[in-house]
Amino acid sequence: MNSSSSSTRSALPLAPGERLPVSKVLTLSPEALKEIDQLADKFPDRLAATLPALHIAQREFGFVSLEAMKAVAKALDIPEGHVYGVASFYSMYQKHPVGSFHIQVCTNISCALNGAVALLDLVKKKTGISQRGEVSSDGLWSVEEVECLASCGSGPCLQVNHDIYDEFVNEAELDRVLEACRSGQYREWAK
């Protein structure tokens, strides 16, 4: 098997002996707990709040660490195993720390036909990132190859954090995006 697939695959399951990274934050803030509680009341069943609660936890913890999963389980009073199962299923819950600007490049077919593979290489070169899970030493960048973002008519495209997409990204446009990140025009991850 070639080495590329691992870059699109999730960080789980872990290799023998490997541990999930520990987050700096270890508990949910009182505001987050309140938000989760209100969410849970909105749905016919508390369990339904698992996904939204994990989004909140990701915002609070910076990524979905094991501690984040446990905090969600406790907040919703549901089994930790369930939360781990959900967190590991969905690719948007980052199981490793990411940079202040997490750049997600679509390399699916329509974008690929318009140069997404070269764009991904360029993003990696300019940020100094070689693979998923890596964060640049200044903490600014991380890069992830993602599947179709539903922006195929304006490919190649990328998404910085969870903000609106950047479309028709060529080298000049990429430079503009990176500069906008550096100069604080783009929202930072989890802010």
Binding site: M1, Y90, L113, V117, E147
Partner: protein, 454 residues
């Protein structure tokens, strides 16, 4: 309202004749204008909520009859008649009362598809109106909009639109004095293509892993939270607004007799003017690709066109004249799917196209069913080997023998979706596969569709 960067969407929406009776504009009104989402504009300029007002003056069963009369078929993938689907929902009887749910599938993940996004971006109120109509017709009192996690800025917009609707008593209790109550909740996914499959979506909505369920029971009898549920695509639900406004019979005059109405086609790949084009069903594929989207940017020949999203079998030249309707596309061995049209020019390596698509399915398989989980992975590995010049001739027989063991053998249609492109590309471009194997390399090194395949 939003803290997100605002940006002008460069995609094409309009063409000569669009908005005239020959090419009605029902789904893209005001698209391109970033303020268009507001209730005031929707009501003032786009006949907003007139369909709802008409629906509320009717019996719920009459609303379903209007949908049936419109002939509209689901825009999410399978093309199932929406009116019929709505009629499957159980009705209350003297001794049994149901809690029914309506779910909107806004997971939009099929590669090549980007239309639901434009509806939510420019006309969220049309979706809301359509959902209230659907809710009233099926007597649901709660609706969920399941939006893919990446669309966070659209979720903010949708929620703002919902707030506007609540203020005007278009949502909530006793809507417009009709006695009907209906609420909407937006639910954010977290990155999984499989959650577009309706039962996987239901599991995800319940806070679980997005794994498809065994059917039966079908969602109409046991869906979200164990209750009767109807799931429709964004475009299908949004179309209910114009259908109820103009009447089902009038809507049915658009398109062809068995393929009525307009739909939003998404054109991407090697074309001059990629973007969204709303057309009546039945317009020839080549008219859309050449006349509207301008053909390839540099006059290169078109080698293949994917007519209905990544899961549909590819068309080659002899099928480029195919009318874009559900039945003809199916009769020619592909599917209308999600309306995603991907154009591929002559300088493209089809082995790479195949590998790129199969890698997607291998990556997105939920892993429950062995044929899909293992099959897609094996196809990816074999295709990688062929692309890298390490293939063997017997690989082609192996690939061919795999699809019948995946298609129809799994809980959901993700495995089948992988087989459409696999079979058609191998069948129609066998010579390219053989060339890779015999010459031990890709004949088009400048074509790069797959990360690190060389």
């Amino acid at each position: 309202m939003t803290s997100y960067r605002q940006k002008k969407d460069p995609q094409s929406y309009s063409f000569e004749g669009f908005g005239t009776p020959a090419f009605p504009n029902l789904m893209l009104r005001g698209a391109g204008n970033l303020d268009n989402w507001r209730l005031a504009i929707y009501q003032k300029e786009h006949e907003g909520y007139l369909g709802l007002k008409r629906a509320l003056s009717m019996e719920p069963s009459q609303v379903i009859d209007e949908m049936k009369a419109s002939g509209i078929r689901g825009r999410g993938g399978a093309g199932f008649p929406a009116g019929l689907k709505w009629s499957f929902m159980p009705k209350d009887t003297a001794d049994k009362k149901y809690t029914r749910y309506l779910v909107c599938n806004a997971d939009e993940g099929e590669p090549g598809t980007f239309k639901d996004r434009s509806i939510m971006e420019y006309n969220p109120h049309q979706l809301i109106e359509g959902m209230i109509i659907a809710g009233f017709a099926m007597q649901c009192h709660m609706g969920f909009i399941y939006v893919r996690g990446e669309f966070l800025w659209l979720i903010e917009k949708l929620e703002a639109a919902i707030e506007e609707a609540k203020k005007e008593n278009l949502l909530g209790q006793n809507i417009l004095g009709s006695g009907f109550n209906f609420d909407l909740i937006v639910y954010r996914g977290a990155g999984a293509y499989i959650c577009g499959e309706e039962t996987a979506l239901l599991n995800s909505l319940e806070g679980r892993r997005g794994e498809p369920r065994i059917k039966p029971p079908f969602p109409a009898s046991k869906g979200a939270f164990g209750q009767p549920t109807t799931i429709n695509n964004v475009e299908t639900l949004a179309a209910a607004a114009p259908i109820l406004r103009m009447g089902g019979a009038e809507y049915a005059k658009i398109g062809t007799p068995k393929n009525t109405g307009t739909r939003i086609f998404c054109v991407s790949g090697h074309v001059q003017r990629p973007g969204l084009y709303e057309l009546p069903l039945g317009v020839p594929l080549i008219t859309l690709v050449k006349d509207l989207a301008g053909g390839t940017p540099n006059g290169k020949k078109i080698k293949a066109i994917i007519p209905g999203g990544a899961s549909s079998a590819v068309f080659t030249e002899s099928d480029f004249d195919c009318p874009l309707d559900f039945d003809t596309i199916r009769d020619r061995g592909s599917m209308a799917g999600s309306g995603g049209i991907i154009v591929i020019d002559e300088d493209t390596c089809m082995v790479q196209v195949c590998l790129r698509l199969i890698r997607f399915y291998a990556h997105e398989s939920c892993g429950q069913c062995t044929p899909c989980r293992e099959g897609c992975n094996w196809m990816e590995m074999i295709l990688t080997r062929i692309e890298n010049g390490e293939g063997r001739l017997e690989d082609l027989e192996t690939l061919k023998s795999m699809t019948p063991r995946i298609a129809g053998k799994t809980l959901c249609a993700l495995g089948d979706a992988a087989c459409g492109p696999m079979d058609s590309i191998l069948g129609k471009f066998r010579d390219e596969f053989i060339h890779h194997i015999e010459h031990k390399k890709c004949p088009k090194p400048s074509c790069q569709l797959v990360t690190y395949s060389h």
